[in-house]
């Protein structure tokens, strides 16, 4: 039971509850955003819908569907898929009387159902982290837009004088970089290291902390200039962010080569009460060293 992975899936009822939760969050966020009466909100909604729809147009996925269904059926399936995704946005835009945008979104959703394209272009996204092993190189390329969003939120936080939003932006960066350490890498990329398990962990943590801090720096600078009186809070949050990132990396290798399981998840959750980290970090560290010993003999 404790060896179950988080991705193993759960009872279908959890899925229904999750769908209900997502719907509620969508409605809540929509009400909140439209209450701001910004002219950009409807466009952001239309783009968000198109972004989600574009994820369904990936070539490999469509090739598979084409293989499974006859031509006519395939088109029906694709149109249905796109409209299911677009529907909440379409309904919302129509309710808010943005009829032209509603129509455009509806038409584009159908047109995009009939197109398929490659999701992997031959464009290499530049990354400042290419000199250190792969987590940040790959992670940055997959999620650079999250940092744009975080920096945007930090600017908005200052503009609307909302310090908490700034802290949220900081949290978003740590959350994103922690995601780079979610999945266990292929054992070859651990085996290939010329070092002891402790050194390996030290190098991984050092890189993660350094690069995460670099990514946080613009937000930290902006917030410290604007909220000099809250600099203590800012530093505490940054320190906690770095501490949780360290714990997460150790949790990952304590389960290695398996994915982070329920046991590690529960222990990490206990660590959300920060004093518990004094026990949890050494625990994960010793477990990680033991796991890595098998490969880094």
């Amino acid at each position: 039971m404790t060896k179950r992975k988080l991705s193993d899936g759960s009872h279908p009822i959890v899925g229904y509850l999750l769908a209900l939760l997502i719907s509620l969050v969508f409605i809540g966020v929509s009400i909140l955003l439209f209450s701001r009466k910004s002219v950009y909100i409807p466009y952001i909604y239309a783009f968000a819908a198109l972004f989600f729809i574009s994820k369904l147009s990936e070539t490999k996925r469509n090739d598979f569907l084409k293989f499974c269904f006859a031509n006519r059926q395939y088109r029906k399936v694709r149109i249905a898929e796109n409209l299911i995704i677009a529907l909440p946005f379409i309904v919302l835009l129509a309710c808010k009387q943005h009829f032209l945008l509603t129509l455009i979104l509806f038409v584009i959703s159908i047109v995009m159902a009939l197109l398929s394209y490659r999701a992997t272009y031959n464009i290499t996204i530049p990354t400042p982290f290419h000199k250190k092993p792969f987590e940040f190189t790959v992670g940055f390329r997959n999620s650079f837009f999250m940092f744009i969003i975080a920096y945007g939120l930090a600017i908005i936080a200052i503009k609307v004088n909302n310090f908490n939003l700034g802290i949220f932006a900081l949290g978003l960066i740590f959350f994103t970089t922690s995601g780079y350490y979610l999945k266990p890498e292929n054992e070859y990329f651990v085996w290939v290291y010329n070092c002891t398990p402790a050194r390996f962990l030290f190098e991984k943590i050092k890189t993660a902390l350094l690069f995460s801090f670099c990514l946080c720096l613009p937000v930290l600078i902006l917030l410290s200039i604007s909220y000099l009186e809250h600099i203590g809070v800012l530093l505490v949050f940054t320190f906690l962010g770095l501490l949780y990132l360290t714990t997460w990396i150790l949790a990952k290798y304590s389960a290695y080569p398996e994915e982070i399981g329920i046991t590690q998840g529960v222990i990490f959750a206990i660590g959300l009460f920060p004093p518990m980290l004094i026990v949890i970090i050494p625990l994960f560290a010793s477990q990680s060293v033991n796991k890595l010993k098998e490969i880094l003999k």
């Binding site: 992997t120 290499t124 250190k132 790959v138 070859y188 085996w191 290291y193 010329n194």
Partner: protein
């Protein structure tokens, strides 16, 4: 240089390597042949230390793992990492600095493109190039010729000769007999996890003929192709 004594390996109840004894010497090229599932890859993984095993693998280089270039049958690539970054990654972790990677791109690979977009053969060549640039003492190459074009095949054969000249130990597996004939000093035959035969260079031709006879036999006739 690498001495394997009484090596056995089981996965559950299935024994995949049975009491293997081999000695791999410096400056020699060794071929491991056998049917699919004979235990070649498991043997390589045991030598690399990627599998636990019964028996002993010793080497005058200690730890062997840190001086071993391992080419896997199907090298793994991250989705958004370029060929150049892959090479740099594998060399950096072995504390080997490489400069002018473009000049060393003997396989003419598009090194600035994501490696995951490469074809099977290109991936193999990239992984081999990275392993070679690590400047290891021993090389364990699992099917280095698999999926690789003719020109690159010739280059790889040349590279193996060069490694031999430099006094490195090379262990390769291949399903293409001609490549083994062109490169190896000795060939070991694995059958169902057992080392059934050791063949020296002068007997390669006889081995090839024998294998052809045993393997093909009258199997083709059984299809009754018209």
């Amino acid at each position: 240089m690498i001495n394997i004594q009484n090596l056995s390996k089981s996965f559950g109840a299935k024994q995949v390597l049975k009491n293997i004894n081999i000695q791999f010497n410096k400056g020699q090229v060794y071929g491991i042949v056998g049917e699919n599932g004979a235990g070649k890859t498991t043997l390589f993984r045991c030598i690399a230390g990627l599998e636990s095993y019964e028996g002993k693998i010793t080497s005058e280089i200690n730890p062997l793992k840190n001086h071993l270039g391992l080419l896997l049958t199907e090298p793994f690539f991250f989705t958004k990492i370029t060929g150049k970054e892959y090479i740099r990654l594998l060399c950096n972790v072995r504390k080997k600095r490489v400069s002018n990677i473009d000049d060393k791109n003997i396989f003419d690979l598009p090194l600035n493109q994501y490696a995951s977009t490469y074809s099977t053969g290109m991936k193999k060549k990239l992984a081999l190039l990275a392993v070679l640039l690590q400047n290891n003492q021993c090389f364990v190459l699992d099917e280095p010729f698999n999926g690789v074009d003719i020109h690159s095949n010739i280059i790889i054969i040349g590279l193996i000769h060069k490694l031999k000249e430099l006094g490195k130990t090379v262990i390769i597996s291949s399903h293409i007999f001609s490549t083994l004939r062109d490169t190896c000093d000795e060939i070991y035959l694995l059958k169902e996890g057992e080392l059934v035969r050791k063949v020296f260079r002068e007997d390669f031709e006889a081995l090839e003929l024998e294998m052809r006879e045993f393997t093909v036999g009258n199997k083709i006739e059984k299809l009754e192709l018209e």
